[in-house]
């Protein structure tokens, strides 16, 4: 039964196709299928293309480094470049991004250097970039928790009458967490200038979408909060960019939050320690490889004459240069001072931590016993 607003009974809604502007074959879709959104200018699309190519090169490089055991872990976003890059491209400098562990290429695209992105994955420290310069929160590991932080920051910006918008990235699985619900609801009630972009890559580690939720689309969830929701082809960077940009504009002009679902696919394993052969077929992955977001846009841009061999070569050169930088930053030995462990827990020094720091310092000097004795004595 379809939704009938006169009759207050709501049941499963009919399947709907995701909104798209450029289809799998690189053709633009008729206006009546595009949800009223306009295709971004070719220049914009070329820039998105460039960023996607560079991002993928980074992702592939880091995955390779991880396979070599040079990083503790790395969650790849291969295949999800359209969502990641569109989200970042839609941000203004004063906006804030709230990413997850999956969104390293979003960080890269917003200007974080490879060595700073990789600080956490190679185990130097829990997080390693400058949040305020880039206006990016630490990559969140506890699922959906960052969505609430985004709502809070957006609300603070609104209270201060700044035109800052917060955009947060979430996975399909993360929407099941209570924190996602609370974030959507607080945002809608407070009319917070925040945009939720759910990358529906159809898996939460091994758990497929139909074990995660029973609704028609994730975007439908927006109805229950009273905010607009968009179900978008997450491999169409043009559509993702157009829809996210519109949502950012709405948020900035006081129109409140938006929930955007980008339907995409996680081509790689969840992380290097995952074994996807246990839970999905190679054929499915292949199917989605053929819906590649970069190839699709490439076809369009080539057809438009915007992507010449020359331009492509320069993009590939930039990508290779970045890959080299990325490799280099793994060979440089990161300096990690064990005594820094005690530095940042509190803003004001605590005696007990100072004691423990002194203990470790002495131990590092090869004089653990002496240090313990010293501490014991000092406290008598």
């Amino acid at each position: 039964m379809s939704l009938n607003v006169e009759n207050p009974i709501m049941t499963t809604m009919p399947p709907a196709p995701p909104l798209r502007l450029i289809d799998d074959l690189g053709h633009t879709v008729p206006h009546n299928e595009s949800g009223g959104f306009t295709l971004p200018a070719v220049g914009t699309l070329l820039s998105l293309y460039r960023q996607m190519v560079i991002a993928r090169r980074f992702d592939v490089q880091v995955t390779a480094l991880t396979r070599q055991g040079r990083l503790a872990t790395y969650p790849s976003a291969l295949g999800q470049e359209a969502c990641e890059i569109a989200a970042v491209a839609a941000l203004d400098p004063q906006d804030w991004l709230f990413p997850t562990y999956r969104d390293s290429i979003a960080l890269l695209t917003r200007g974080v250097e490879p060595k700073d992105i990789l600080a956490s994955f190679r185990g130097d420290w829990h997080s390693g970039y400058d949040y305020h310069t880039h206006r990016i929160a630490p990559q969140a590991t506890p699922l959906a928790t960052q969505a609430l932080h985004a709502v809070g920051l957006a609300t603070a910006a609104k209270l201060k009458r700044h035109d800052t918008v917060a955009l947060t990235l979430l996975g399909d699985g993360a929407t099941s967490e209570g924190d996602a619900h609370e974030a959507f609801n607080f945002a809608a009630v407070w009319q917070a200038p925040v945009v939720f972009v759910v990358q529906n890559n159809q898996f939460a580690i091994s758990v497929p979408l139909d074990k995660q939720m029973a609704c028609r689309t994730i975007a439908d969830k927006a109805i229950g909060y009273g905010m607009p929701g968009y179900y978008v082809d997450g491999n169409d960077v043009a559509a993702m960019y157009a829809v996210i940009s519109a949502a950012m504009d709405r948020a900035r002009s006081g129109g409140g939050p938006t929930l955007i679902e980008g339907l995409t696919y996680r081509i790689e394993a969840h992380t290097n320690s995952d074994d996807p052969t246990r839970y999905r077929k190679a054929a499915d992955v292949d199917l989605w490889r053929h819906r590649d977001p970069i190839e699709r846009l490439e076809k369009y841009l080539v057809a438009q004459g915007a992507l010449t061999d020359e331009v492509r070569a320069s993009i590939l050169a930039a990508a290779e240069e970045l890959a080299a930088t990325t490799r280099d930053c793994m060979t440089e030995q990161a300096v990690v001072d064990p005594l820094e462990l005690f530095e940042h827990v509190y803003s004001t020094p605590r005696t007990a931590l100072a004691e423990q720091r002194a203990f470790l310092a002495a131990e590092l000097d090869g004089d653990a016993v002496a240090s313990v004795v010293a501490r014991e004595k000092s406290t008598r």
Binding site: S127, H149, L159
Partner: protein, 339 residues
């Protein structure tokens, strides 16, 4: 305990008046909001109602919706959004309606509030105050009388404090709001209506210090929040038995003031810690363990813990059997070998 100082702020100095702890907390938030426009409040029922304990009474009317607002009913949501606000330069003061209702916010508190500063190498600070009315003795139904302090004190990155009287309530809450670090501010429910004469704005001891409330020579009795009153009553009662009890109000549970408490224990050689929470794994374990570690050769007897039993907090008709009393404390002390 050094004499109370007037607080150095723009806040007008008022004549001494008799205040409840709830009113002192209310005044602290009020004055902090006047002094610092970045202080904002939100939580469940803290707006027009003024909170179920009326701690935020009148603030909505005075400061308006922008700075004082009722939030949707979700504790993770309250703490999670407070984190985002703090990241953007505000100083949120949020209320968990009752101790047990802070538990939905546990992940946000333990995995983010406590760890954000460390994670970001000090680049992101979270000056958030999470107010938690706690403990029992108010005839509350289940889930309304938990003592949750051990969960927070076991979490590195948090500062955990609890006042026991109106002057401290004011001064400590102002200190907590002024702190650049997140503070779990535990308000003993049963003391909300306790009164004292205070001249506001008052500044008592620093936020991280314990105070000796009553000097004594034979035993150090250590308490905080709701049990300070019990400890003082015990000391008074002990006089008739010829026992001189020194009473310490910890005030700060994390950090623990080793210096003040250690000095007292070294003097008396005997100590007992009193709290409402269950004994097993309770905060008193840390107090006993660290005092013993650091002062073992001064101790004439083991440090005792007089606490709630190792059971869930009881229903109203049974709480009197659960709560530590002066008699129970004195009985415990009398089990020591007094050579």
């Amino acid at each position: 305990m050094s004499p109370n100082q007037p607080l150095q702020t723009g806040t007008a100095v008022r004549a001494p008046e008799t205040l409840t702890m709830a009113a002192a907390l209310n005044a602290a938030i009020h004055d902090a909001m006047v002094d610092d426009p970045t202080v904002v409040l939100f939580g469940e029922d803290i707006g027009p109602l003024g909170g179920v304990f009326r701690v935020t009474d009148g603030l909505y009317a005075e400061f308006g919706e922008t700075r004082v607002s009722d939030s949707p009913l979700a504790e993770a949501g309250i703490v999670g959004t407070a984190i985002g606000m703090a990241m953007y330069g505000l100083r949120p003061v949020v209320e968990m309606q009752f101790d047990a209702f802070s538990y939905p916010a546990f992940q946000q508190i333990v995995s983010h509030v406590a760890k954000m500063r460390n994670r970001t190498r000090g680049k992101i600070q979270l000056p958030i105050v999470i107010r938690i009315p706690y403990a029992g003795d108010i005839g509350g139904v289940e889930h309304h009388s938990d003592s949750s302090e051990a969960y927070w004190t076991a979490t590195p990155g948090l500062t955990v404090v609890s006042p026991s009287n109106p002057a401290d309530a004011y001064s400590m809450l102002r200190g907590a709001i002024a702190s650049d670090d997140p503070v779990i501010f535990m308000e003993p429910k049963s003391r909300y209506w306790s009164k004292a004469s205070v001249a506001l704005p008052v500044q008592t001891e620093p936020l991280d210090r314990a105070v000796v409330l009553r000097a004594g020579t034979d035993v150090t009795l250590i308490a905080y929040g709701p049990t300070v009153k019990t400890a003082l009553a015990t000391a008074a009662q002990a006089v008739t038995e010829g026992l001189s009890i020194e009473v310490i109000d910890l005030r700060s549970l994390s950090p623990f003031d080793d210096e003040t408490v250690g000095a007292s224990v070294q003097k008396t050689g005997r100590a007992c810690i009193v709290h409402e929470a269950a004994q097993f794994g309770g905060y008193g374990a840390e107090v006993a363990a660290r005092l013993t570690e650091r002062n073992f050769y001064y101790l004439a007897a083991p440090i005792l813990r007089v606490t709630g039993f190792d059971i869930p907090y009881p229903s109203p008709k049974l709480e009197e059997y659960y709560l530590p009393t002066p008699d129970r404390i004195l009985a415990a002390l009398s089990t020591w070998e007094w050579s």
